[in-house]
């Protein structure tokens, strides 16, 4: 990994961590709209995969999508404003935490229904193959999604059509309250790849360098037209399933074990040990991101609220070619 890349990836992980920590505070201390599903603990997955994607490569995201947005390069201000339900939000206050996504950086949406982004990712990969655009699609989903029918149909179609898609399973051990081994008869979800004629690999999802290396192989394979890969990243979410859900179904010892292998700490230690960077540089990035997050909160707070009927313009795209007198009703 080159120095510049390493610093950028470190910055991305810090951005995600501090974005989530700030939101947690905000939800505790003031009325915030809706709920949220937080990404802290899983930073290495989104950042390690998106490191290999160009701006015009696509990703599909999930209900736990803040990290995917930041990793793909969405502006933090617009993300924060979306959390505040402001018109300057990336989704114009139409999506919130659950559907937060920025199409201009290649996000096809954050599907709030488990597994539902998977067939969409396959369609985008089909489109890329048909248009010979060389674009790759990374499809993020969780261990829960691997038990949805959409998982099977999506991987099967991607396998049989040899599509340029990388399926990234973020196995954070729990689908809401349920440990994946209570509802999944195999240890490794990646083993299922064999059924779809694609490679399946298990990777330490807390280790940015491990994710980075496996993603490099998978993205390269997709880009060369050799088809899809299923990467299973074993990872952990530090927070409960959603906003104030306390995660009483898991022990504090378990959480502590995972925290010992925190992705930011691991990567930081690696960087300092490798002498690629010095501690001062990393502290500089940390301070920089602190300022960036504070700026984003200011920006969001000072942005305008939507008007009650703003939603109407988003139900349908007005058909320019055939405007009819009835369109206003539709």
């Amino acid at each position: 990994m080159e120095r510049e890349t390493a610093l950028l990836l470190y910055r991305r992980m810090v951005q995600i961590r501090k974005f989530e920590e700030k939101l947690y505070q905000l939800f505790l201390t003031r009325p915030m709209p809706g709920s949220m599903h937080q990404y802290n603990g899983q930073e290495a997955v989104a950042v390690g995969v998106c490191a290999h994607l160009n701006r015009d490569d696509f990703i599909t995201s999930t209900h736990r999508g803040h990290g995917h947005c930041i990793a793909k390069g969405a502006p933090i201000r617009a993300l924060m404003a979306e959390m505040f339900a402001k018109t300057t939000g990336c989704c114009r206050a139409m999506g919130g935490s659950m559907h937060i996504a920025d199409y201009s950086v290649g996000m096809l949406g954050a599907m709030g229904i488990v597994g539902s982004g998977m067939p969409v990712a396959v369609g985008a990969a089909w489109s890329s193959q048909y248009r010979r655009s060389g674009q790759v699609v990374a499809c993020f989903f969780g261990d829960g999604a691997a038990n949805e029918g959409a998982f099977h149909e999506a991987l099967n179609l991607a396998g049989v059509w040899k599509l340029p898609v990388v399926f990234v399973c973020e196995n954070n051990m729990y689908g809401f309250s349920t440990h994946y081994r209570r509802v999944t008869p195999v240890e490794n979800i990646a083993d299922r790849a064999a059924s779809y004629g694609m490679p399946g690999v298990v990777v330490d999802g807390m280790d940015l360098r491990a994710v980075f290396d496996e993603a490099a192989t998978a993205v390269d394979r997709a880009r060369k037209g050799e088809g899809a890969t299923l990467i299973e990243c074993k990872t952990y979410r530090y927070m409960g399933h959603s906003r104030f859900e306390k995660a009483a179904y898991r022990s504090s010892e378990e959480l502590d074990e995972w925290r010992k292998r925190d992705p930011l700490v691991l990567f930081r230690d690696f960087l300092l040990g490798s002498e690629l960077v010095d501690a001062g540089e990393l502290e500089g990035i940390d301070a920089d991101v602190d300022r960036e997050i504070e700026d984003a909160v200011d920006y969001a707070e000072n942005s305008p609220d939507p008007k009650p009927h703003d939603y109407r313009q988003y139900i349908f795209k007005v058909n320019d070619e055939f405007p009819t007198r009835h369109q206003k009703e539709s």
Binding site: G109, S116, G123, W126, S127, I315, T324, Q327, S330
Partner: protein, 342 residues
């Protein structure tokens, strides 16, 4: 040569749009090599090749989801779902994803996709006979089209393909005019009359949200789609001859967007409304159109609104039972007579 069958009109629309725009691609079960279970894609695989006419696995989630993903990234896919009943398998992709993604993303994307599906009862029992349009009318974000003639089918499908929103395009099996190679599909086409307008060869488009008055009349407004439109026309002809009752028969053609003005204006003129549909009664299309008229033209009504639709039952298999639940010409005649008190 104008085409006289809906199956040919749809085929021509697909062929013209694929010729015109290479972003138009087709996907579905048995649409390529086999050329479609109702023959709508006949010759297209041979002409446009595997890349543009793709046979899929039996995976309705993946078919609709792949169409959505392709639509979000520069293509204009047309997916075929073999029977509209199977839409239930891909419901999440159509109703939660395709219908809402532009909305949830605050208008960042457009979703130019069409999902075509045959509907209607043809002796295939409860899982291959439904008319499910109301499910999708009930899902804001989808447009819903139901052509009843070759002329309408071609012009509306071309418009659907050029629309930047997800369109559900429902085709009545008995109106195709083709027989299914997999079975003994019946057709009602040869019995249809003057309103079964052929589709001309040349290019034309029909706007959504514009109902067509298939038969003008002054005594009763009859609103019907698809196969029921033709049954209503026959009923109207009989009523005019035998009883001197003139029905105005309106085909909305698109249920979303719905041309409310044409229906309301007609009821204001006739003072009577009969709504005919092959979907079920409760919360169905007949309920919606009745409510529309009750809200906007109640004091123009000279009689209660009458609905002719399938009672709240799955479609039974035996022909005698199937025909008992599907609205018949006699049911429409009876309903019309009851509102003109003859």
């Amino acid at each position: 040569m104008p085409v006289k069958k809906i199956v040919d009109a749809l085929n021509q629309a697909l062929r013209e749009e694929m010729d015109r725009d290479e972003r138009v691609v087709l996907l579905g079960e048995d649409i390529g090599v086999f050329e479609g279970s109702y023959r709508v894609t006949e010759g297209l695989h041979a002409q446009f090749g595997e890349e543009r006419v793709r046979d899929t696995p039996i995976s309705e989630i993946a078919i609709i989801g792949a169409a959505l993903g392709a639509a979000l990234t520069g293509l204009r896919p047309v997916a075929e779902i073999q029977f509209n009943d199977f839409l239930a398998c891909g419901m999440d992709q159509l109703c939660n994803q395709a219908a809402k993604i532009r909305f949830m993303l605050g208008g960042q994307v457009t979703v130019p996709m069409v999902v075509r599906a045959p509907y209607g009862a043809t002796g295939r029992a409860a899982q291959h006979s439904q008319s499910l349009e109301a499910w999708f009318v009930h899902t804001p974000g989808l447009k819903v089209v139901m052509p009843s003639t070759p002329y309408d089918a071609k012009g509306l499908l071309k418009t659907a393909i050029r629309d930047d929103n997800p369109v559900l395009f429902l085709e009545h099996k008995l109106l195709y005019g083709a027989t299914s190679p997999g079975g003994k599909a019946q057709t009602a086409v040869q019995e249809l009359g003057e309103v079964f307008t052929p589709a001309p060869d040349e290019e034309y488009l029909l706007p959504f949200g514009a109902a067509d008055v298939k038969r003008p009349g002054s005594d009763v407004t009859v609103v019907a789609t698809g196969m029921m439109l033709h049954k209503s026309i026959k009923a109207a002809r009989e009523l005019a001859g035998a009883d001197g009752i003139e029905c105005e028969v309106i085909d909305p053609r698109t249920l979303v967007p719905l041309d409310r003005e044409t229906i309301i204006d007609s009821v204001k003129k006739t003072g009577r409304l009969v709504v005919v549909s092959e979907d079920v009664m409760s919360c169905g299309v007949t309920a919606e159109i009745s409510a529309l008229v009750a809200e906007h033209a109640l004091f123009y009504l000279d009689a209660p609104i009458r609905r002719v639709a399938v009672p709240d039952t799955p479609i039974p298999f035996a022909p005698v039972m199937e025909q008992a639940v599907i609205p018949q010409i006699g049911d429409i005649i009876e309903a019309v007579k009851s509102v003109v008190y003859r």
